[in-house]
């Protein structure tokens, strides 16, 4: 039997390391495009200031990128180390996008980032620009594949359970990658990254403008960032709405938790703007409602309705009851894979296999399951409502605040009056933490809202963990907390220091010129071929 503390510690470790990793990734996604845009302006107009911009923001980009890479290693291996049952159960499907991410995206991103940083003097203008665009493209491709993998956890498309191997197997690769959840989530999440990059560049530029330093560079950076940001924020909001629409179909329990919908009511449904959900009593305290808005948002019509928690729980009771014979049949099939009666019983109940697993947490021997245990399992099928409800409101609230900021900043920046508005510049600096908060809240909505499943409706979280001792899990958690705390302190210090020092001032009236290749002798780049090791 799996120890409950091990489950909690595994979840805590995953949440902590994923939330931490997700501090760095969105900034990489957004800044890579801004760097590519700045360099494009440099190459098309030939104005050196844009080259200085790309180089300066590139330095900050790399400080962030290093931690994204380092903490990404943890994520790739954590499924195997801490979630071994999950990994063997769905590795057939979930592993594929991770491997493709490596093949298609990570190699491209990591190889060309070396050239982006070290290749300024070695590549022609056009080549370097191409390299920078490839980095931006690759970081987005990596987001695509990781969200295809995540999309499978939210809405398992293109897969089926195979009783002969006791695992899920792929039935359609197309269904897996074109799952609506994966696609809308990819666009929503990567654009959220663009917003993060835009706020960061705008905020740091505002810092220089307020102090009258590097004014030309900061003004241009600010303008590019807010233009990029206003478009991106509109995209995030639109896609967020689309994602809500998809969730309404695929994950009714998540949607009910996001909106604090305890009791089934007739359409049109009101929106709980503010409420304090109480999971034990299954009701909200102090709700402030807007009539009819929820039906409009989630079904895009006035007479649409979405299932509430009471109805979902009643349905879960039926599913648990139906899932029990499926698990029992599977136990027989494990001993004798060809038992025809067990196979028939399994096929009759296979749809609800996951719900059978859900109750096995309380009744390891399913022949003695009690109605109370079935009710408890059904109750478990509802995610933690208050946490999901409030994470969702933090995400939407911060998103709308950023939209308002970007609209204002774009207006003043385009009229070239941004320096006359110190309050707006101070606001821009104050906005720097906001997208990070929004991203983390978004992660919580998506992954807490998926509970109690690792794969929605198919595999419960409690079963997915590795069979470690509490001591092992505590040891690894402490190790990660110690390492990661040190890392973030160093990262913040370097980031702040590099920003304080600022970009090097332009040398001469036209700034530094790109040096031709190969390097002149003074540059001491020897021309001896060095390439034999790669076969060229």
């Amino acid at each position: 039997m799996i120890n409950g503390t091990v489950i909690d510690l595994s979840r805590l470790q995953f949440a902590a390391t994923a939330l931490y990793h997700f501090l760095f990734v969105p900034l990489t996604l957004g800044m890579s495009f801004l760097l590519a845009a700045m360099e494009t302006v440099y190459v098309t107009t030939g104005r050196p200031i844009y080259r200085r911009m790309a180089m300066f923001w590139g330095r900050l980009f790399m400080i962030n990128f290093a931690l994204g890479v380092a903490t990404g290693l943890t994520m790739e291996f954590q499924f195997g180390t801490n979630w071994s049952f999950y990994s063997s159960f769905v590795g057939d499907i979930f592993g594929a996008p991770l491997a493709i991410e490596g093949l298609m995206a990570f190699f491209m991103e990591s190889t060309f980032i070396g050239l982006m940083v070290f290749g300024w003097h070695r590549l022609s203008k056009g080549q370097h620009l191409a390299v920078t665009w490839l980095v931006a493209l690759a970081s987005n491709l990596s987001a695509l594949w990781i969200l295809v993998a995540n999309g499978f956890m939210q809405d398992p498309q293109g897969a089926a359970f195979d009783p002969t191997t006791m695992r899920m197997h792929l039935t359609s690769f197309q269904d897996l990658i074109f799952s609506p959840d994966a696609q809308s989530k990819f666009v929503h999440t990567s654009i959220a990254g663009y917003v993060t990059g835009a706020i960061f560049v705008a905020g740091v530029s505002a810092y220089y403008l307020l102090r009258n330093r590097h004014v030309e560079l900061a003004k241009r950076s600010f303008r590019m960032a807010v233009l990029f940001g206003v478009l991106a924020t509109i995209g995030v909001v639109t896609l967020g709405d689309a994602l809500g629409f998809v969730d309404a179909q695929a994950q009714p329990t998540k949607l009910a938790a996001m909106e604090g919908l305890w009791k089934t009511e007739p359409a049109p449904l009101p929106l709980n703007l503010i409420a304090f959900p109480d999971q034990a009593q299954q009701r909200n305290h102090g709700a402030v409602q807007i009539p009819a808005v929820l039906s409009l948002l989630e079904t895009h019509s006035l007479d649409g309705t979405v299932p509430a928690i009471d109805a979902l729980e009643r349905q879960a009771v039926r599913q648990v009851e139906d899932g029990i014979p499926a698990v029992q049949a599977l136990q027989t099939l494990s001993r004798n894979p060809e038992d025809p009666a067990a196979l028939a019983q399994f096929n009759a109940h296979r749809e609800d296999l996951g719900y059978g697993f859900l109750v096995q947490r309380y009744a390891p021997d399913l022949t003695r399951v009690t109605p109370a245990e079935i009710r408890q399992a059904a109750r478990d099928s509802i995610p933690p409502v208050a946490a999901v409800f409030w994470s969702f409101r933090v995400m939407v609230g911060t998103g709308l605040a950023m939209l308002a900021f970007f609209v204002l900043a774009t207006l003043y920046s385009l009229r070239n009056r941004i320096q006359e508005k110190p309050w707006l510049l101070k606001l821009a600096m104050g906005m720097i933490p906001v997208p990070f908060l929004a991203n983390e809240a978004g992660w919580l909505v998506a992954e807490l809202g998926r509970q109690p499943w690792t794969v929605y409706g198919v595999l419960p979280t409690w079963m997915s963990v590795s069979t470690h001792s509490v001591g092992y899990m505590a040891f690894s958690l402490i190790g990660f907390v110690a390492l990661y705390s040190t890392f973030i302190a160093i990262e913040m210090y370097l980031m702040v220091r590099t920003i304080r020092i600022g970009p090097p001032e332009a040398r001469g009236p036209r700034g530094p010129q790109p040096r031709p290749r190969p390097m002149p002798a003074g540059g001491a780049f020897a021309t001896a071929p060095h390439a034999a090791r790669t076969g060229d």
Partner: protein
């Protein structure tokens, strides 16, 4: 032999290709890291060493990430059982490996000697420890690992942490570290000049000699060790669980494939020849040739392990019949086919642009360069 069995074998071979990529490319960078304080005596010399691999370490590291992802996709039971079973060792690997990106990126951003000294040590540790862990993990495959499955494929690892650091596994760890130091030294020799290159040249020969000795000793050791022998089970190309086979252990069984197919002896010979070639090339100051010869040695060493173990991938010492093989731990045919397609398309593309990146950044790295370039590590 049906299509599924062929896909399983192709994936077993592809995994070998990816492991060789990992050993050659990551091993080279790890070797530079592990020997950083020996090859580079001053701060500038260490910066030269770091900048030789500076533009490439990040791309090279993806072989490691891809290795993990590919095992996950193609052999999910291996990924799940091995990574959770080797828990503490995996943490050791991860915690040292995540120091590397930060070490490379942050070390030279601040001039303080204590700061740089601390990161130098971090880079030494993050170069040496992962290579020892990789090698030790392979060593444990020969000895078997204590694990078993419940009816629903929940795996239980029943050994301790120290059991994974048994004497044989330590020797394979040393072999892996020695080979990567050899490759790292050849890389530094190729990219640096003067006394640094001379130190690297000496180290490459020493490391290569150690590797030859340990590889030979391990060969005799494996011969006297109890190997695993597959007796019965559903076999290749049939969906199954590891609960349906019979496996016994017997001394010398790891040489069974070599006895059955003597042509396989070419593989360990390639390992020895590659190491000897690398040493001779280092002595003759042909660093390129030495590097390529070292890469062949990796193919020989990893190929030897694979030839001996096949079809086993993760033998169980506590319940040999639950050992994981190519046949009972692979993904479904559909997944394997898609992944063969992606791998066959992308790996040549990766090799091509990696080659271009090395060509662009070709040439020696000198102290002047690292001191005048604001982007240098």
């Amino acid at each position: 032999m049906n299509g599924y069995a062929i896909a399983q074998i192709i994936w077993w071979l592809l995994l070998g290709v990816l492991l060789v990529g990992l050993a050659v490319m990551v091993g080279m960078d790890m070797g530079v890291g592990a020997s950083l304080r020996y090859v580079g005596r001053t701060d500038t010399e260490r910066r030269v060493a770091l900048n030789i691999i500076g533009p490439h370490w990040d791309g090279n590291q993806v072989w490691f990430i891809l290795g993990g992802g590919a095992i996950f996709a193609a052999f999910p039971l291996i990924y799940a059982t091995a990574f959770s079973g080797f828990y503490v060792v995996m943490l050791l690997l991860l915690w040292t490996m995540i120091l590397r990106p930060i070490g490379f990126e942050y070390r030279s951003r601040i001039g303080n000697p204590a700061w740089r000294g601390a990161w130098d040590w971090a880079l030494v540790v993050s170069g040496a420890v992962p290579m020892v862990v990789f090698g030790a993990a392979f060593g444990n495959l020969f000895r078997g690992v204590p694990f078993h499955f419940e009816w629903n494929m929940t795996s239980f690892y029943t050994g301790g942490f120290l059991g994974l650091l048994n004497p044989f596994a330590v020797t394979t760890g040393v072999l892996s570290l020695a080979m990567s130091v050899m490759m790292g030294s050849l890389t530094v020799m190729n990219g640096a000049e003067g006394t640094m290159a001379a130190r690297a040249r000496g180290l490459a020969q020493v490391a290569g000699t150690v590797a030859i000795a340990v590889f030979a000793i391990d060969g005799f050791w494996v011969h006297s060790m109890a190997g695993y022998h597959w007796v019965s089970g559903p076999g290749p190309g049939i969906p199954q669980t590891p609960l349906q086979q019979a496996v016994i252990t017997s001394p010398g069984a790891w040489f069974g494939n070599f006895t059955a197919h003597p042509v396989l002896w070419c593989v360990p010979v390639l390992g020895f020849a590659g190491m000897i070639g690398a040493i001779l090339a280092a002595r003759a100051k042909f660093s390129h040739l030495g590097w390529w010869s070292g890469a062949l040695a990796w193919i020989g060493v990893i190929g030897t392990a694979g030839s001996a173990l096949f079809p086993f991938m993760l033998p169980s010492s506590s319940d040999p019949s639950m050992s994981l093989t190519v046949w009972n731990s692979s993904s479904s045919e559909l997944t394997l086919r898609w992944m063969i397609g992606f791998t066959v398309f992308f790996v040549p593309l990766i090799l091509w642009y990696t080659g271009w990146a090395f060509w662009v950044m070709r040439g020696k790295i000198t102290p002047d360069m690292v001191e005048s370039d604001e982007h240098a590590y």
